[in-house]
């Protein structure tokens, strides 16, 4: 046994003068490729062809839509004449609907900021990485936390009279309670499905339903002065 090193390390960029190279493969720096026995096919033509067919179908659909429906064009912009209501593009109407209930700093800054921050941290949020059902462990404790969150949140929404948020929240909460009252080996398929859902699933679904409801209300159910209207009774 000898402690003598079999190599020397140094810094030299001239590969002709020092042709020896040593590669250090350190952990977590190589491409993350897991070896699986999943069947693979050639990207060209199998993948490329499918992508081309998908994009072609979409293009045809959009061309047909464009031939049938014209893009809206109103009068020339007039800063002196405000339309009532003045609406943002549809994907911001959820926020505009919130603006109706909350001060601008909440609806325009804090809520969208929180949403973006939440979206970014989702994959780094390591809790429940195995994605097991929320009620499968510590059921009593989790039920208490869940109850407290729902009651406090609903109370705040009631205080601001935000029924457009309150109703979807209570609906999702009802489904979560149904999940809590379901057994993993329930004979009903829907119950087995409910109980298998992790907390991340519930939060995201709540967000999806909430955003959709607010956007639909802002788009179709709001008239002059942001008053409630029924779109079929114009």
């Amino acid at each position: 046994m000898t402690d003598e090193k079999k190599f020397v390390t140094g810094l030299d960029s001239d590969s002709r003068r020092t042709p020896l190279r040593l590669a250090f493969v350190t952990r977590r720096t190589s491409p993350q490729v897991k070896v699986t026995d999943d069947p693979v096919v050639m990207t060209y033509p199998e993948g490329i062809l499918r992508a081309v067919v998908a994009v072609q179908s979409l293009a045809i659909a959009l061309v047909v839509i464009s031939l049938i429906w014209d893009a809206p064009l109103e009068e020339l912009a007039d800063p002196m004449h405000t339309p009532n209501p003045a609406k943002a593009p549809w994907y911001f109407l959820g926020l505009q609907e919130l603006l109706h209930y909350f001060p601008p700093v909440v609806a325009g800054v804090i809520i969208p900021g929180l949403v973006v921050a939440a979206l970014i941290v989702i994959p780094y949020f390591n809790i429940n990485i195995e994605a097991e059902g929320i009620w499968l462990k510590n059921r009593q404790r989790r039920l208490r936390i869940f109850g407290a969150v729902v009651v406090i949140f609903s109370a705040v929404m009631l205080l601001f009279q935000v029924y457009a948020v309150l109703m979807p929240t209570l609906t999702i909460a009802a489904f979560m309670l149904a999940a809590a009252r379901s057994a993993p080996d329930s004979p009903v398929r829907f119950r087995r499905w409910l109980v298998s859902k992790p907390v991340a699933y519930w939060v995201m679904t709540w967000f999806l339903v909430q955003a959709s409801v607010l956007t639909i209300i802002g788009t179709f159910f709001r008239g002059p002065g942001w008053s409630w209207i029924w779109p079929w009774r114009s």
Partner: protein, 247 residues
């Protein structure tokens, strides 16, 4: 004996000029197919082989591919629209009328751009939710999810800046509503708003700024992030196939 079409194609692929462009050359073996991907600056962002499972419709609903599709349609129609558009007041609106009554297929061009833009916003959101519900964002794909969030924001900004360009009542007041929202940001809100609009109200300066953002800065930024997004799919071990998932 007459040559078949295939014969002509493979002869073309054997020529010196063809080989100078596509080094892969002729022949339908897997080496050639690998080279077709690997030797192409755009396709090499993808891996040469792909798991069969990730190609099924059920896996992705092709939402990412379709989002890219709308981006490409928007780039093409957008460049064509730029040929007929002046970002000035009130000429911008007159150009809309010209598209409607003077330019051949002008209405169609604008329709396609507008509906594709709405489709892109919708598809990008749908793509995000699909990725989430499949759990495809989990390690080692965390960072690609973050790139995706950046692309979502870029998509919204692209759509928002494009919304002003027709310079009609709809455009003007939608942007005014959005810009007023921005001024509610504490401390810096007013400054941001002034920077974005080039003034205190939505005016000709705002139109020019939105035009530059919409046609140059944001598409280029989006293209760079798209490249990273696709390249990371390969680097993170290909499309998520759901292995290790009990469901």
């Amino acid at each position: 004996m007459a040559k078949t079409l295939e014969g002509y194609i493979s002869e073309l692929q054997g020529t010196r000029v063809w080989r100078s462009v596509f080094r892969g050359g002729a022949g339908a073996n897997n080496l050639r197919r690998s080279l077709a991907v690997q030797q192409n600056v755009f396709l090499h962002l993808a891996s040469v082989k792909i798991s069969r499972r990730s190609l099924s419709f059920r896996a992705t609903w092709f939402l990412g591919t379709l989002s890219l599709g709308t981006f490409l349609i928007l780039a093409i129609t957008g460049i064509l629209l730029m040929l007929y558009y002046h970002p000035s007041v009130p000429q911008a609106y007159a150009d809309m009328k010209d598209l409607q009554f003077v330019v051949s297929a002008g209405v169609f061009l604008r329709n396609l751009h507008r509906w594709s833009a709405h489709a892109m916003v919708f598809l990008v959101f749908a793509h995000m939710f699909k990725v989430f519900y499949r759990g495809a964002y989990r390690s080692p794909r965390e960072f690609n999810w973050v790139i995706g969030v950046v692309l979502l924001i870029l998509t919204l900004l692209l759509s928002y800046t494009g919304y002003l360009l027709p310079w009609d009542q709809l455009a003007f007041w939608a942007i005014t509503v959005g810009a007023n929202l921005m001024s509610s940001v504490p401390v810096l809100g007013q400054k941001f708003r002034f920077l974005m609009l080039g003034g205190n109200t939505v005016n000709a300066n705002a139109l020019l700024r939105f035009y530059v953002l919409h046609c140059v800065i944001l598409p280029l930024t989006a293209a760079v992030f798209l490249a990273i997004h696709f390249w990371r799919i390969r680097k993170d071990g290909g499309l998520y196939t759901g292995q290790g998932d009990s469901k």
